[in-house]
Assembly symmetry: D3
Homo-oligomer: 131 residues x 6
């Protein structure tokens, strides 16, 4: 259970409703996931978060699928179960194949391992990396 009630469409104030409308229009689906329904109690945080997400996750020098996989990787390291499920689903919707997911998984596992080894060893940063 969430620490706040999840708002249904009928519970939204006008500012939150406008954000939900934009989420639906941008994504081309009527489905609005629970994260936004939980944030909807704070229209200001909802607006700021959706506004930034739309901008940050859109196409740029990095393509949207690459961005989703980076998002999954951060969410795994932070142990955010909801975020792992939602961004894995988004990555799949944007074209992540089983082979790509397998390689993403392998990089995540490898990075966690060497992060642990490096931290245990307290390895000093090479001068070559600081140029």
């Amino acid at each position: 259970m969430a620490t706040v009630p999840l708002l249904s469409d009928d519970d939204l104030d006008p500012r939150a409703k406008a954000v939900f409308d934009d989420i639906r229009a941008t994504r081309g689906t009527d489905f609005v996931n629970n994260f936004w329904r939980a944030l909807a109690h704070q229209p200001e945080v909802l607006e700021a978060t959706w506004g930034r997400l739309k901008q940050v996750m859109g196409p740029g020098a990095l393509d949207p699928l690459t961005k989703e996989m980076i998002y999954v990787a951060v969410s795994v390291a932070n142990g955010c179960s909801y975020c792992i499920h939602s961004h894995t689903a988004s990555a799949r919707a944007k074209g992540m194949t089983a082979q790509m997911q397998g390689e993403l998984l392998a990089v995540i596992g490898m990075a966690h391992e060497t992060n642990g080894l490096v931290t245990a060893l307290q390895v000093p940063v090479d001068e070559e990396f600081q140029a």
Copy 2:
């Protein structure tokens, strides 16, 4: 300072030396960074780690640059300073532009923020994400 001495080339046992030779040949440079010099005390761990890294980070369904950026993202979330420096340097060497680094940064910041929000709100996973 590291929690173990960093081995110079003259201190390596034959098994560790063979790994260092392969690192140099694979990367096309004489430079071997401190992580491997710290691991060199445990030739078995050194071999296994380098062997896996070479395989995991090579080209596949995901290109090596994408993999480096995912590595950076995990390392940031795990707070591994050495890993951030070394894999940012690797990503640059593999073609990460300033614009790409800026977008990587923006995704990392965004993911951390929503990870925190979702966790604070304890949002339940939507059924739609579990199909």
Copy 3:
């Protein structure tokens, strides 16, 4: 499921029972939550933890509600779901309004974002902060 059985009141040894009595007297309720029932197998850890908690979370230079919100913030960053639920409930019981919860949420989200950005950028500490 917990990794140890949760003890009911009938299962307690005298030392654990004394702690439960003090929890009930201090809080003015018969309800003893699962955390203490799981710790009750280790009366020494139970005593030490409750003793410290009672002292640390009481009124001082910081009021108990502020302390609960700080507790929630730490628990979010550490991803402790149980702790988020229990200390959010405590904060509400001590007067946290929906508006205060919304601002707490916004600070938590913001702090996670800039923690991620600062770590990715490896920003050196300004001398001005070290005085």
Copy 4:
């Protein structure tokens, strides 16, 4: 060293310069700390981050000092050394006394301990916390 060069005032593009001007005006000091100088390469991220920070950390249902202490608590749990230094300095500037800092410290230590215990025990959330 940072993973990007820190920009001096002479290196700023107009958009970044406008943010620096606002930071100076808002804080009433000429000092602009390294975090903003590192972010200045990405004027869009700089603008969004400063804009949100100014809004989130200002007075509301929670006072600015309480918000700074919550910020410190998150930064400790995330292990962000720069953030701990900068927000501890901000909290002091906003009136945090040595006694308050000591209590903040005690709550942070306590929360980390019980987060660890609860996670090790995998305590199930009491129904009473989910109302």
Copy 5:
């Protein structure tokens, strides 16, 4: 739910089947837990992970039970619920008594607390620890 389907014995390709056979032979039980069933989609990652685990967790200068308790401690700090359950079960199977589990718990709690205090205080490393 997992982010990949869990493979039953009938779904395995020959390489994954060989790993499952070795897991069963090594552990002397027909039971193969969900972690391996989730990894089985990536036979290469499955092989590498099982191969390393078998080697790393076997007897050496540290006995297998000590290794399991260290594994639990890392899993708690990383907030990996599945890992806490599976390695607590393994530790019990290898002889961890209730008294040992209680002391493991106390060390984990203590370490989390002082990790938080030290990080909040940003204590500089004593020269004496760097020899």
Copy 6:
């Protein structure tokens, strides 16, 4: 630099001095490390922390060296550099050999890797682990 001044022996109040005396007597050395000097501003936290540490880390069902290695493992996962240095030094003083340190390292690396894999895969806990 620490976020509080480190107290020298001459700066201690009587309560803190008594703790320092006990640290010296217990450890059989005049050396008191920086952690205690930073905590000394809060005699109550200092007393409680030292009192618990002395009790928790002493001999019991687990020997002191095993406890130190568990402490190191938690500190690595939490990224506490000071704690890694101090408890690695303690473990060495209590008899950790290079071979033992190497195996500790290998378990830490392995646990981090599988923690990451399990979390990315969101593996559900087997019923067999919940008995």
